[in-house]
Subunit: 305 residues, 2 copies
């Protein structure tokens, strides 16, 4: 099943002609999670052919405009398209009021459930059939969360040839797949290890929005497969990173390394950098699997043994 | 001197992958007037290489999101770029509150003067050295204005050869250029018609934002050189145009014709139309100089005799 990330925007606060503000979409089992919603998100969704109607969950990391100014236009378009499905928004509490004031004259026509973020600790905020979502605190100039999307452990795979050979019943198959032995009435024991193969490992993606270098992130996203970490600045501007409570590409890579993340993707680049390759070089000193996201960057997490 | 229009967005309420929401920029004598500011305006300004710092006047026709949701991001970017110059915003009164709520935590660092629109009658709202701007009421589901940008009459051009021949003084030149005769101390009269040529005629541009077909517009923009009139729908959807208080391309062309507008440009197209040529054909039945705007469309009004 799909576990695919699309990056819609890679600019920091001030967009450029080729970089829109922050927004990511994770397609996990055909559930489309929109993570941050900077200005122009709805145009980027159109451009990269992601259907509005597939989005039922929006996560807003914090209330700096480049992470949420696109939500008004997106909600308006949902309404104009006669959306009926409930929309879940996970965000700082104040967003509810902002949306209310902004869309005062608009009859949305669909329900919104607001879920307020907690900025003190890591917390499970959503639990679906296949996916769990956690928020965790970052360290920025205002209250900010990151988000971890964790695929649930999959069941073991039954070895098909054995179904017929042993005339396995449905209950027996279910029990074996869940990792339990089956004892038959005649006393024979079917060892699940003989009848099933290990499932592919659960996959995970973490989104680390605006933050300064913050040790605890590594614990929050320990062993994550795909880590997005903001990289607003290069080392030469690290004083600026400190002042604005943002990270350098090196900071991001140090966190990724500490967290044992398999792959790191960078974004949220300051508009002062046109050529980003030197940023990649800096980050690659601290982690061996770093890529630079661009607007439209897409990565599908493979199954892994 | 420049009198050049750039269209930043041509979608109606719901943008498409190639059409952003409404925003126009008129460069009149290197004053950049931003007219409406739909979501993504700042990205379009970047794309079409119009410097933020050149914009000191923003005109918002009405408070439907596709005409102003971009203002928050633009103001934020102004602030982040350390803008100091005063910004003038001509808009419905309520925008002031919306901006205040939205940018509560942002230290803008530059002054904004709000000028509230009047929706009852045509009114001069700005008078600069070279340009006068008027607002005028349109007919839409909420209070909405159009805007007329009128170049002031230019002075007559002095015929240079005559300056030396008649040893004209500065005061004499000024008087002749303003269309007055000069009587010299010796009693000779210099006829301004002999010493000057007619100036090029004053140019004008009118922006007719969301509106249903509305007769009075033709009076408000009488003899305008360049008329933008919304054309959300084609004739086949005229029932929808009526219901939503928008115009068809034919409506726009009828107004242009009635107003004796020299050139009509269309925009604000419904996302249901992919190919716009049939729209052009419909409009061309009623006006002989119609063009379809697209995002990035630019037109420089020539001098005219």
């Amino acid at each position: 099943m799909n576990f695919e990330l699309t990056v819609l925007g890679t600019s920091s606060a001030v967009p450029t002609s080729v970089r829109f503000p922050s927004a990511h979409v994770l397609n996990a089992y055909e559930q489309f999670f929109l993570i941050d919603c900077g200005e122009g998100t709805q145009m980027q969704l159109r451009k990269f052919k992601i259907k509005f109607a597939r989005i039922n969950h929006i996560f807003i990391s914090h209330l700096h405009g480049d992470h949420y100014f696109g939500i008004y236009g997106l909600l308006s378009s949902f309404a104009l398209q006669k959306r009926k499905n409930e929309l879940h928004i996970y965000a700082p509490e104040e967003l509810r009021k902002l949306v209310k004031v902004q869309l005062k004259y608009l009859d949305l026509g669909f329900p919104i459930s607001f879920h307020y973020l907690n900025f003190d600790r890591k917390k499970k905020i959503l639990d679906t059939k296949h996916i769990e979502v956690y928020s965790f605190p970052l360290k920025h100039s205002i209250s900010t969360c990151g988000f971890l999307f964790q695929e649930k452990e999959r069941e073991r795979n039954i070895i098909k040839a054995k179904i017929e050979k042993y005339q396995l019943g449905l209950r027996e198959i279910v029990k074996l797949k869940s990792g339990n032995n089956v004892e038959r009435e005649d006393g024979t024991v079917l060892d699940y290890n003989d009848f099933t193969n290990s499932p592919s490992k659960a996959r995970s993606y973490a989104y680390c929005s605006d933050t300064q270098y913050y040790n605890k992130i590594a614990d929050y996203v320990k062993d994550v497969d795909l880590l997005y970490h903001e990289a607003t600045y290069m080392d030469i501007d690290k004083a600026l990173a400190k002042k604005t409570m943002h990270s350098t590409a090196s900071d991001a890579a140090k966190i990724a390394s500490k967290a044992n993340a398999n792959k790191l993707i960078l974004g949220h680049y300051s508009g002062r950098y046109y050529d980003l390759k030197p940023m990649l070089i800096e980050a690659s000193k601290y982690h061996n699997n770093v890529v630079l996201a661009h607007d439209g960057f897409s990565f599908s997490l493979p199954y892994k043994k």
